[in-house]
Symmetry: C2
Subunit: 329 residues, 2 copies
């Protein structure tokens, strides 16, 4: 008696159904086949518990129905939301997600890309920091939030517009002494445009705008010192602060409280991202919210688009303002 310890193959199904190998293949590829044949094959496959071997298929077709998602850190709520969106959007189109985490390490990013290339994924969606990544032009690549070159499509929020929006909101709410605070990596990225948009909006109205831009390695202490240094008789030199992201806004709010200032009565504060508290669903602060879901879907659309001849090099998605307690409205 034949031992059946390994999974059944198409050959087994063909024998069981009494049809040819090619016919079985057609059935599993939705290629027209006589109704009676199709039934016989499906029956036999069910009896045997047959499942197609996607490695054999991938070898033959050079298509694997899988895409890689490269992220710096899935622990951050923005990235995890993005991951969720990308994973769902891929799944909805029959694609698997191969997840790689780089921990913000540029050489890890390069290694991920190589590993993932070798694994013959059909494409890569990457949110990376290494500005000189080498990516195989044969392999579809979509970059999130980081512009590489005209030939690599980049999907991002409308960062510039978001900065403008923050400025307009603060003006609307009566602010006249704005400040922009930024912390981030040393490499230039799309999120730099947030401050540009903010400052530009004030400049257009003939108003000056203060700013302090730091890098990750500087830590947060300089922000506290800066704020403390701009106190004058219990009053802060600024009445509206725009922070490059919600994480910074949350910390800055603490600093302001420490200085005896009330938010939003004395100073109004706007962040960027639109993160929500995991338990209550509340915003952490007033903020410019990024369209995470659309970011994810758009990336997948672009990655899987059949016609890869004229893709956009940058797609900016609209952001919105949401009040979250650190502004008067």
């Amino acid at each position: 008696m034949k031992q059946r310890d390994s999974a059944p193959t198409m050959k087994d199904v063909a024998r069981e159904a009494g049809v040819a190998l090619g016919t079985v293949s057609k059935v599993f590829n939705d290629i027209p086949v006589g109704e009676d044949y199709r039934k016989r094959v499906e029956e036999a496959a069910r009896r045997l518990g047959y499942q197609v071997n996607s490695y054999a298929r991938g070898l033959k077709t050079n298509r694997t129905c899988s895409a890689a998602l490269i992220l710096p850190d899935i622990t951050h709520p923005f990235f995890s939301a993005l991951a969720q969106g990308v994973c769902s959007a891929l799944a909805a189109r029959g694609y698997r997600t191969i997840l790689s985490i780089t921990a913000y390490d540029r050489s890890a990013e390069q290694k991920c890309i190589q590993m993932v290339q070798q694994n013959k994924v059909d494409g890569i969606i990457g949110l990376t920091y290494n500005p000189e990544l080498e990516i195989d032009p044969r392999l579809p690549y979509v970059s999130i939030d980081r512009y590489f070159s005209p030939s690599v499509p980049c999907v991002a929020s409308d960062n510039f517009g978001g900065g403008q929006l923050a400025a307009e909101k603060l003006l609307e709410l009566g602010c006249t002494r704005p400040l922009f605070l930024r912390i981030g990596s040393r490499v230039p990225g799309e999120s730099d445009k947030r401050g540009d948009g903010f400052e530009s909006a004030f400049r257009q109205r003939g108003m000056a705008c203060a700013a302090l831009r730091l890098n990750d390695e500087d830590g947060l202490a300089p922000f506290r010192d800066f704020l403390a240094g701009h106190m004058d008789g219990g009053r802060l030199a600024f009445d509206g602060i725009f922070c490059v992201n919600d994480a910074l806004a949350v910390r800055v709010r603490d600093f302001l409280t420490e200085l005896g200032l009330r938010v939003p009565e004395d100073v109004q504060l706007i962040g960027f991202d639109g993160l929500r508290h995991f338990a209550t669903g509340d915003l952490y602060c007033s903020t410019i919210v990024q369209p995470v879901g659309r970011l994810a879907e758009t990336s997948v659309d672009l990655l899987l688009r059949e016609d890869r001849s004229n893709l956009p090099s940058l797609v900016c998605l609209p952001v919105t303002y949401a009040a979250g307690g650190t502004t008067k409205e």
Copy 2:
């Protein structure tokens, strides 16, 4: 002139290096080979930019160096931390992670498992809710936090011990009127033991312990009503509350504040999970912290263990207590 639009294969490398196909294979599998041959092959591979095709390899060897991770929702900070840990642990051992998200949908869980089985992963790590999942016994499976059967290893925190620990802490801090609050899915899981441990600790000391256990679909309102119903002249009938997780603890804290109670002066509150604020890194509340990193590593260890003959059916990992502002210490 030959067009080289498709990736180079071992055959190309063999020709370029002037050696046999098998020799190239040996080089890429770390099988001993003459030093000069190895050099020639490596040179040739570099010149051609050769990378092994893991689909062909997977087809031949039936090993794919990839594992699936099935989670209900990667947006929740506990799950995302787990995902990060599993992904890193797998990567450290040369394995890719295929991520599947089920959105707590039991039929989606089953579908994920099938899809992933068909993709010939080497194993599955799953955190699922469907108690009657059908999993192919040929395929290594490790369950996190959910016990299936003796033959499916389950990795979990020491939930019972964590409940006891919470009880001991509250006693230590002077509580005499304990309450246990639980919200969760209807299916029995390891986390049910939290309440058991908590109550058992009080019972052992001859003390009674109140409890309210609800399911997800009940929502949180009943908790508020329950608490409000146990107020007597500005005083709550309980002075120490243990919540089944941090998310609930955070909400309960809000309810208590609404009722005019001070935390921790009037009531002390302990959660479970050990989640931290994404921006500040602070705990949301006093809590029993789960060893997320070890949970992930242990799962991977178990999944990839060579000898699969006598695996444990349940591994419980130790939890710790951490004060986070909702207890007196």
